[in-house]
Amino acid sequence: MWTRVSDFDRMFGAMDLLRSRMNRLFTDFDRAYGTDYGWVVAEGTPRTNLYDAGNHFEIKAEVPGMTKDDLNLRIQGNYLEISGTRKADAPEGYKAHRVERGAASFTRSFTLPADVDTEKVEASLKDGILTLTLPKAEAAKPKQITIN
């Protein structure tokens, strides 16, 4: 009898393990990494991250193979638009074995969570990562409140 119980226990343990593996599979499925690789999300635009660092926002975007001349940034109030073109860099006189990268053009726009000071926005490009630093407008900056 006792051995039976532990058998059951083990069986349920195995089922739980299977269930957690399945869960992980589904959460991974939704992510861009793991299942699919590449630099674009489904709509054909580069992946971006938005960070809120209190006094400024920081946007990072993956733009491999693009120079600063290939990218266009426009901002108006809290509306930001990033557009760009990736030129084909296929060399002349070569036979292609595998082409996964391809040339593309994209436009992506964001509504930022708060107004930013459009005059002080800075952008830099390093190793295929575009980094935008967007200082928040005075009204949107966090304020320390003193208790009376």
Binding site: D9, G13, N49, D52, A53, P91, A96, G128
Partner: protein, 128 residues
């Protein structure tokens, strides 16, 4: 029985650790002409020092680690720290000593020159 049950439960409460950094294959383009094989790989955000290119025993391994320096809390994050790695089989005809790599704007460009013996040769026909 109690001992055994505990043992099983302990297994469940400590599930296997997944890797800290997701591993991704970079997308590549591979071209070839009579002199060399040319490989492009997209590895955005990887610094030059964090890339390793290895040719060993007919296997070409490229790998690189991306560490993003982020400020503040993420409102959304579609990409993060990642480990790029991909392995290719290379033909014996590659001159390993002359392989060279360059990194520009997050794209790794790898030249794999063919050895002299493997290059196509025009054979001249002599008049008898």
């Amino acid at each position: 029985m109690s001992d055994k049950a505990e043992l099983v439960k302990r297994e469940e409460t400590t599930p296997e650790r997944s890797r800290q950094m997701p591993a991704v294959s970079p997308v590549v383009d591979i071209y070839e002409n009579s002199d060399e094989i040319l490989l492009y790989a997209d590895m955005p955000g990887v610094a030059k020092d964090d890339i390793t290119v290895n040719v060993d025993n007919g296997k070409l391994t490229i790998s690189g680690v991306r560490k993003l320096a982020a400020a503040g809390a993420a409102n959304w994050a579609e990409f993060g720290d990642v480990e790029y790695s991909r392995i290719f089989s290379v033909p014996q005809a590659i001159d390993v000593a002359k392989v060279n790599a360059e990194l520009r704007d997050g794209v790794l460009k790898l030249h794999l020159p063919k050895s002299e013996a493997a290059k196509p040769r025009q054979i001249e026909i002599k008049a008898a």
